[in-house]
């Protein structure tokens, strides 16, 4: 049973919907990081069959299991994909020392048009300085419909995030996000452990919604200086990324509104009138009794 205090809050959830990832720096304690490095070095991390409930994977004394069963990590997982999701696959990513190049930009698996989403939990067992590479993610790219390495010609984007982090950092990704393993310019191997999880429940209000305001989608005055003054759900979902095209960036806000409606069941929710305007069809309304 996950403690409510360990679930994500509404602003964290909105940030995930907008950016497609959340990071939790130095969440895993050093003793577990050390134990996991030993498991990696020993080749001791065994994958379960795809589709196995996560509760049946990595039984004790697995250090990976110990990490995944940390209350905070169980809370993150449950908030996004619900209780006891299915294990899809794992990977121990190794970037060799002094590489010639980075991994090409890509989205994992294949094109995936579901509203339901899988998460990929990435765990960094050791410090990752900038010259060691680290995973690169493109914030807000998760709703773009592309197929895996079709985007490999894209080398850099304004606002890309390099995972420079300390040991024990967790990065949780929407399955569609664009990312790559950056070039490792050091003389040491770089490791990252990844596990993909599939929801078994409808992804509806799975986080701690105690702080979800009833008027979360209330219309505001738009295109004014004060529209984004308050850091609320609408402001978070309405903030475009530096790499978005001017016009397509607005469509990304529509994608986020649709995802928020899906996650809350609130079909009236809107950000700054974007969808309400499109849904206004007066010919379908009876104006007088």
């Amino acid at each position: 049973m996950v403690n409510k205090a360990d679930l994500l809050n509404t602003k964290q959830m909105a940030t995930f919907v907008a950016k497609g990832f959340l990071r939790f720096d130095e969440l895993v304690p050093p003793e577990i990081n050390t134990a996991i490095m030993a498991e990696i070095d020993g080749g001791d991390i065994t994958a379960a069959a795809a589709g196995t409930p996560l509760s049946q994977c990595y039984p004790p004394p697995s250090a990976i299991g110990q990490m995944l069963r940390m209350p905070q990590i169980e809370g993150i997982i449950q908030s996004l994909v619900g209780p006891d999701p299915l294990f899809d696959h794992q990977a121990v990513h190794v970037r060799q020392p002094n590489e010639d190049s980075a991994q090409g930009m890509h989205g994992d698996s294949i094109i995936d048009t579901r509203m339901h989403f899988d998460i990929q939990l990435m765990y960094f067992p050791h410090d990752v300085p900038l010259e060691m590479g680290g995973t690169l993610v493109v914030p807000g790219s998760q709703y773009r419909r592309i197929n895996e390495m079709d985007i490999a010609r894209y080398q850099n984007f304004l606002g890309q995030v390099n995972m420079v982090c300390k040991a024990g950092t967790i990065l949780v990704l929407h399955h569609g996000i664009w990312h790559c393993g950056r070039q490792n310019k050091t003389n040491q191997k770089r490791y990252m452990f990844k596990v993909r999880l599939n929801p078994r429940v409808r992804q509806l209000r799975l986080w701690n919604t105690d702080d979800l305001p009833a008027n979360v989608g209330a219309h505001k005055a738009i295109f004014t200086r004060d529209t984004n003054k308050v850091e609320d759900v609408q402001t978070i979902l309405g903030r475009t990324e530096p790499w978005f095209e001017n016009a397509t960036g607005r469509l990304e806000i529509i994608n986020r509104i649709k995802m928020w409606r899906f996650l809350t069941g609130d079909e009236q929710f809107d950000v700054h009138y974007w969808l309400t305007r499109l849904e206004n069809m007066p010919e379908n309304r009876e104006l007088a009794a």
């Binding site: 985007i151 850099n156 397509t248």
Partner: protein, 92 residues
């Protein structure tokens, strides 16, 4: 054989205008002098496409403006405004 080799600059712009802001970029260097790869820079080489022209790059492809396919009006996908530039440089 000439020592001239093609250097290719791909700029992703904020809209269809060549003088709009660079939001993404890739470089491929046929001289072999600059080994560019994914995630190798957080700062664009130029602020706009026009700035690349001013620096001596020749634009060789403008993106076509293609209306959205029916029922795909709200679908987002690849970068819309991909401009390709070249320079010829001595590989020696």
């Amino acid at each position: 054989m000439s020592n001239l080799r093609q250097k290719v600059l791909v700029l992703y712009l904020a809209n269809s205008a060549l003088d709009s802001k660079v939001t993404g970029w890739s470089i491929y260097d046929g001289t072999g002098k600059e080994p560019h790869t994914t995630g190798d820079s957080d700062t664009p080489p130029y602020k706009t496409g026009l700035d690349a022209l001013k620096a001596g790059w020749r634009v060789i492809q403008f993106p076509q403006l293609i209306p959205p396919y029916p029922n795909m009006e709200y679908t987002t996908s690849f970068q819309m405004y991909e401009f390709i530039f070249e320079k010829l440089e001595d590989a020696a």
